[in-house]
């Protein structure tokens, strides 16, 4: 009896160019099929990484992102299309991945990658790809990789410049060995402030994907111990040596970080709970009142089109109409006012209090903070 083939006929057809490549072949393709890769961030870097790993036949891809697709993403995040604006990124990305290769499994993690879930999510995969867009999550990804003993295929971009490396391989350095501490907030502008060439993540992301494939196949020279720098304006690649720091707090000889830490604190990320109104309430307090069914009016002072994107089921009276529509509100009930970020609602609170309302408070951080802290199913925009 003939030996059962390791790949189905449609896989043999699909991966033919890999099968004829001696460094991959059937054995390599089976390795790819058996492999699992977690891609943190479904943005500029995550887009090419996911699409290429899917096309290459990596059997299981996990994608993590809490965000929704915005128009400003489409210039570089090629896994999403115009019709996807407003949709959860992982949902849009999973669809694109399935269009490229329906034979693989895609796990959607529609949530932020945080200290509380990263170890659990990361543990399920062989390799983790850092496609995040902020320092706090980069240090988290790094630490989780070291703690779980998983390779971290790292890439990062800014304007016309890119960096790529592989961290967390045995004996090799980790991200903290290279950058022990993040810059102070605001010291290095992010892509939203500084801009980024749309094609750049395509170059850097495909390098990350290449490194992942090589690790799975066990071929070639990994970027571990080397930092690849790209200057797209000069179209110049530079290769720098990176060595493991024996004193590194996470991968060193005597590590002091043995579990994920508070990365917002570590990176000095400004908290969003700065006071916006003397009558602020925290999202957690509003949640408590809602759960307890306390009688109240939730007043939404955004515009109609914003209400359509997301809402908390409140009464909609846009701020500019509020002065002439206060009689629509029940003066006997507590009122919690919200907008997108908390500033318009702070004005509304003042306006209502000036108009004689006594129990009016402002949802600090607005519906965006609510989405981040209480209910991630509420889209942010």
């Amino acid at each position: 009896m003939a030996e059962k083939s390791l790949l189905a006929r449609e896989e043999t057809a699909r991966y033919a160019r890999h099968l004829t490549l001696p460094e991959v072949g059937t054995d390599g393709q089976v390795k790819l099929k058996s492999a699992s890769v977690l891609i943190v961030g479904t943005g500029g870097l995550g887009s090419p990484v996911s699409l290429y790993l899917a096309a290459a036949g990596v059997g299981r891809l996990g994608i993590v992102d809490f965000d929704r697709v915005e128009y400003s993403n489409l210039q570089r995040q090629i896994i999403h299309g115009s019709d996807d604006v407003g949709r959860p990124k992982v949902q849009s990305a999973a669809e694109s991945i399935r269009r490229v290769n329906p034979l693989i499994q895609v796990d959607q993690h529609d949530e932020a990658f945080t200290s509380s879930n990263a170890m659990r999510i990361g543990a399920e995969y062989d390799i983790i790809i850092d496609g995040t867009d902020n320092f706090a999550t980069r240090y988290l990804v790094n630490d989780v990789c070291v703690l779980l003993g998983k390779p971290n295929c790292y890439g990062s971009i800014f304007r016309f410049e890119g960096q790529a490396s592989v961290f967390g391989l045995p004996g090799g350095p980790c991200y903290r060995c290279l950058y022990p501490k993040p810059p102070d907030p605001g010291m290095i502008p992010n892509c939203a402030e500084g801009g980024v060439l749309g094609i750049l993540p395509g170059i850097v992301g495909t390098i990350q994907a290449t490194e992942a494939i090589k690790l799975i196949l066990g071929i070639g020279e990994s970027l571990s111990g080397r930092l690849l720098l790209l200057d797209a304006l000069e179209m110049k690649f530079r290769e720098l040596k990176v060595s493991r720091d024996p004193k590194c707090p996470v991968c060193g000889d005597q590590p002091t970080i043995t579990a994920p830490i508070d990365y917002d604190q570590f990176c000095g990320t400004p908290k969003q709970d700065t006071s916006q109104s003397p009558w602020d309430i925290e999202p957690t307090e509003l949640k408590r009142r809602m759960d307890a069914d306390e009688p109240m009016t939730i007043l939404d002072v955004r515009q109609q089109h914003e209400y359509q994107i997301c809402n908390l089921g409140g009464t909609l009276i846009p701020l500019d109409e509020l002065p002439t529509r206060t009689d629509e509100l029940d003066r006997s009930l507590p009122i919690v006012v919200h907008c997108k970020m908390g500033l318009r609602s702070a004005k509304a609170v003042q306006l209502l209090r000036d108009a004689g309302f006594t129990d009016v408070s402002n949802l600090n951080g607005g519906i965006n903070r609510w989405s981040k802290q209480i209910d991630a199913t509420v889209p942010t925009y």
């Binding site: 961030g41 943005g43 500029g44 870097l45 995550g46 850092d130 496609g131 995040t132 867009d133 902020n134 320092f135 980069r138 890439g155 990062s156 971009i157 800014f158 304007r159 016309f160 410049e161 960096q163 290279l178 950058y179 022990p180 501490k181 993040p182 810059p183 010291m187 290095i188 502008p189 992010n190 892509c191 500084g194 980024v196 993540p201 930092l227 720098l229 200057d231 304006l233 000069e234 530079r238 290769e239 720098l240 040596k241 990176v242 060595s243 720091d245």
Partner: protein, 89 residues
């Protein structure tokens, strides 16, 4: 010798992608750079005049942390790279 200025710091060098210095050590080279472009100082040194840890300084392809830090000697053909952490994705 050339000190290569990364995109993130070019706002402090009037957009120049490199600066030319004549120096015998890394410390000397960096001092010249922040003297001619004082706005670079806060991106490279902290309040105690120590190099900040989110900018790596390389001489050719070697991190000065693996050489002799700021005392690393330079020759005319050396290239000094400032490599700040970037986070975009």
């Amino acid at each position: 010798m050339k000190v290569i200025i990364p995109t993130a710091l070019r706002k402090h060098t009037d957009g120049q992608n490199h600066l030319c210095v004549t120096a015998t050590t890394v410390e000397d080279a960096l001092k010249q750079v922040v003297t001619t472009h004082p706005e670079l100082r806060s991106s490279l040194f902290d309040d105690r005049e120590q190099l900040v840890s989110f900018v790596n300084v390389f001489v050719n392809d070697r991190n000065i942390r693996d050489l002799e830090n700021e005392a690393t000697p330079l020759t005319e053909s050396d290239e000094i790279l400032l490599v700040p952490a970037i986070a975009g994705g």
